[in-house]
């Protein structure tokens, strides 16, 4: 592939990031379930009408959808939807937790929060919103993040509703499932200040990290979506949607630049990112958003007091660095610990006689190993109990593993089995074993000893003692 000189090409790029919020939906009390495991038990059909604006004109993207003139079928589970999703009841008051998360994110992105929030109805004609519009509000403006290639401005942070998921499209009907309709979404738009394709990945990754730092956003496939706007000199802006992985962003952008260089200037449009780093035409660029106030929702005044009372979470990047610096943990171990969302510092105080690295290893590595070996869950309380016994000197270091296996597989552990044995008694026993098995190798002798004292004596100690007596 030819090297790309982004500056020379007049490369301009900005990101739009959508992140789903955990908890409950934005305007009803339904749980924020994105994929309900239940079979849909509700089905109804609707006809959406184009609501002509003041000029009687319908915008290009709207026309594109309308030309299909389809019946819209909705499927829903009563476990994840209510009358609000069916557009049979007005929205309830805004979910306060979701607002708090949006405000926190604004502050983490150095945004100015607007003084009064007014939700808008953004007209949507493809049927993905039962109401015919998406509720959306501008929460913050004028922020920035720091990147390895300088400051990138954040133009807007919005709080909005997730749309329904399309499950089927036929000649004269489209079917949507309503599980995720109404789940809170944070939308972040950066200024078109991204320097190159790798920088786009970095910006997306930093924003993703900031979002996850709140601990209140959804994880997993589809919970965060990155749309990339790209343009080069002499070509209209193209929007690329649907990246499966952040890692695909640089190569896909570069491919898109090469594609544009080989083609004549096209009308701006939306393209879909393919897993093989190519893109394909999806639909025309949406026209200017058609918005009007959502009068069913009260205007929310944001006071200084409200903003001051928000507790800002420590960023994941800061936490990771702290673990690396303070405890000399590897980056991998630090990240895994943070992912567990536990208060690691409190464990260090609680188990003050235990080496912090051992605690971290039990929490991350030992837990993982037992879980995959026995296909049983090792819970945090189990780990706390086992570490507690060790901290109090009731059992040895090696017993922690054995106790956790017992907890996970049997639900209980017999501590007597692991009680520390007096050193003199072990020495006596070792002498006897050596005496009885004169022909055995060191390893086989160790095996004999550990068979008898597994968990009751530290392996390292046993091997030391064995060595000592073999030499005698």
């Amino acid at each position: 592939m030819i090297m790309i000189n982004y500056k020379e090409l007049g490369f301009k790029s900005g990101l739009e990031i959508h992140q789903q919020i955990e908890g409950r939906k934005l305007f009803c009390k339904c749980p924020a379930i994105v994929n309900d495991e239940n079979e849909p038990n509700i089905k109804f059909k609707r006809k959406l009408r184009a609501i002509a604006g003041e000029t009687g004109k319908i915008d290009r993207a709207a026309e594109f959808e309308m030309s299909k003139d389809k019946e819209v079928i909705y499927e829903a589970c009563s476990s994840s939807s209510c009358l609000v999703e069916y557009d049979e009841e007005p929205p309830h008051e805004l979910n306060k937790d979701s607002l708090d998360i949006a405000l926190q994110i604004c502050l983490l992105l150095n945004c100015k929060v607007v003084d009064s929030i007014q939700f808008m109805r953004k007209t949507v004609v493809d049927g993905s919103n039962v109401s015919g519009f998406q509720r959306t509000a501008l929460i913050g403006t004028n922020g920035f993040i720091n990147t390895s290639k300088g400051k990138v401005n954040i133009e807007t942070v919005c709080l909005e509703e997730e749309a329904a998921k399309k499950v089927k499209e036929e000649n004269n009907s489209i079917t949507y499932r309503l599980d995720r309709l109404g789940v809170g979404l944070i939308e972040i738009a950066t200024a078109p200040e991204i320097k190159d394709s790798e920088h786009a990945r970095e910006v997306a990754s930093i924003i993703g990290m900031i979002l996850r730092s709140t601990g209140k956003v959804k994880r997993g496939i589809g919970s965060i979506r990155q749309d990339v706007n790209v343009s080069i000199k002499g070509h209209n802006r193209i929007e690329i949607k649907g990246f499966q992985d952040l890692k695909n962003i640089p190569r896909t952008i570069d491919n898109e630049i090469h594609r544009q260089l080989k083609t004549k200037n096209e009308e701006g449009h939306v393209r879909k990112a393919n897993p093989d780093f190519t893109t394909e035409y999806q639909r025309p660029m949406p026209g200017a958003s058609r918005m009007y106030p959502e009068t069913d929702i009260k205007i929310i005044k944001i006071t200084k007091k409200m903003l001051d009372s928000l507790e800002l979470p420590e960023l994941i990047s800061e936490k990771t660095n702290k673990f690396i610096e303070k405890y000399k943990f590897s980056e991998e171990l630090s990240r895994e610990l943070i992912k567990m969302d536990i208060d690691f510092e409190s464990y260090i105080h609680k188990f003050s006689k235990v080496n912090p690295e051992f605690i971290a290893n039990v929490l991350v590595e030992v837990r993982k190993e037992i879980q995959s070996r026995f296909d049983k869950e090792v819970t945090i309380p189990m780990i706390e109990n086992a570490l507690g016994y060790y901290n109090e000197g009731k059992v040895g270091k090696d017993a922690v593993y054995e106790i956790l296996v017992d907890f996970a597989t049997k639900g209980d552990a017999d501590l007597k089995k692991y009680e520390q044995v007096d050193e003199k008694e072990i020495e006596k026993e070792i002498k006897e074993i050596i005496h009885k098995n004169k022909n055995l190798s060191f390893g086989a002798l160790m095996g004999e000893i550990m068979k008898k004292y597994r968990g009751k004596v530290d392996g390292k100690k046993a091997s030391e003692l064995l060595n000592k007596h073999l030499k005698q």
Binding site: R46, I51, S116, T123, V125, M291, Y292, K301
Partner: protein, 423 residues
């Protein structure tokens, strides 16, 4: 400096670190300036933080449609009377304003199907929330109907707020004798500014029904269920709003639908046999003002009954088969005495808060006692229909006649044979 804006001016405001450009929204107040930004979003800005304001453009106008409506001599004419609860609203995306539209051109541009069904006349009567309607408004609507009948239209649609649509439908039913045209009340549970509004289907199906059947009389046309396909033509006197927000909120009580209509499938299924009234039409449009409704409940206080002193009519929405607490316990005894006294000057009618089913005051002693002091059974009338009927009867007939007519079926308000129909 912001106060002088009336709204809809395009301005630029400078804050400490930000500059916002947008259109001033009319809901701005003395503390907050609401601006519609170029992105379409509205934001509120604290006025005290504004450092500088620059006017970019004077007031933005809201434009109207330019669709021309042609008269098609092969199609019947249907008049749409607007009373409120706008079935046709338009959004002005420049300003975010939602504007109610009443011109036939606007209706046809919003609902192009109408042009294929009928020639549309559109008449503005009033624009009030239906909870605010008073008897004098019923009279206004009836006068507008009379005018349209005289002009020779095939039928009339009344755009109406849903909250009290069944009261208005009942009033119009009683006011007209031998109504020669269909009068169909249409409302919407989702405002017509949105793509998912139920207004379009209700309006189109009502127009289609009027244009293609020989039905005359008053009816309500609303969604049959939560799907956007079929509407029910419901009997005006036997229908009630039973849900605060669903599009199929209106249900038929103790009766069956007149018809089912599905315009997109060109289908009208007649359910009830039509009994069209013959003879010259006339209207009686007086209502007695001093008529009330009392819903009974456990631990009722006798002062509630006494408060109707001076009333000419009272509908008691009793429990079960038509009961109110009148046994020998002290307060209940007071209630009995108050009722006995009131019934000397006031026509008292009993309906049931069960909503479905008939009042029967012969089964229990309570009912028999109530009859003795003059309480009249409202049969299977809904409370709303009984209330409107009583007010209308008292406005146009003598008390003795009223007592006899209230439990006699006049316009389909009493069904002597209730079938298995329920929700």
């Amino acid at each position: 400096m912001v106060k002088k804006f009336k709204g809809l001016e395009k301005i630029e405001v400078e804050l400490k670190d930000e500059v916002y450009k947008g259109i001033v929204m009319p809901n701005s107040d003395s503390e907050t300036l609401f601006l519609k930004l170029e992105s379409g979003y509205n934001v509120g800005i604290n006025i005290k933080d504004i450092k500088k304001v620059k006017i970019l453009d004077k007031k933005i106008d809201i434009k109207s449609s330019t669709v021309k409506v042609k008269h098609n001599k092969n199609l019947p004419t249907v008049s749409i009377l607007h009373t409120g609860g706008t079935i046709a609203s338009k959004v002005d995306y420049n300003t975010g304003g939602v504007v109610a539209r009443f011109e036939p051109e606007e209706l046809v541009s919003m609902f192009p199907e109408l042009e294929k069904i009928a020639n549309i006349k559109s008449i503005f009567v009033s624009n009030v929330f239906s909870e605010n309607l008073r008897f004098k408004d019923y009279v206004n609507i009836s006068k507008a109907i009379e005018k349209e009948i005289k002009s020779g239209v095939k039928g009339i649609i009344i755009g109406h707020g849903t909250d009290t649509m069944h009261y208005s439908a009942a009033a119009l039913s009683f006011m007209f004798d031998n109504l020669p045209v269909p009068v169909v009340l249409v409302g919407s549970q989702r405002s017509s500014d949105r793509g998912s509004s139920d207004a379009a289907l209700n309006l189109i199906n009502a127009t289609y029904f009027i244009a293609n059947t020989e039905f005359t009389g008053v009816a309500i046309c609303m969604h049959k269920d939560i799907n956007d396909d079929t509407c029910l033509i419901m009997p005006a006197l036997k229908t009630r709003k039973l849900h605060s927000s669903r599009r199929d909120a209106f249900k038929i009580i103790n009766d069956e639908a007149i018809a089912e209509v599905n315009y997109s499938k060109n289908k009208i299924k007649m359910i009830k046999e039509l009994k069209n009234e013959k003879g010259a039409w006339k209207s009686k449009n007086k209502f007695e003002e001093k008529v009330g409704i009392l819903r009974t409940y456990p631990n009722l206080n006798s002062k509630q009954i006494e408060s109707f002193k001076g009333y000419k009519g009272l509908v008691i929405e009793g429990t079960g088969l038509g009961h109110i607490s009148i046994d020998n316990s002290p307060e209940n005894k007071k209630i009995f005495n108050a009722l006995k006294k009131l019934s000397k000057s006031c026509v008292i009618v009993m309906t049931s808060q069960c909503i479905f089913g008939r009042v029967n005051m012969n089964v229990y002693s309570t009912g028999r006692e109530l009859q003795k002091i003059g309480v009249i059974s409202g049969e299977d009338m809904t409370t709303e229909t009984a209330y409107i009927k009583l007010a209308w009867l008292l406005g146009n007939y003598k008390k003795d006649q009223v007592k006899q007519m209230i439990s006699t079926n006049l316009k389909g308000e009493i069904n002597k044979r209730i079938g298995l129909e329920f929700i």
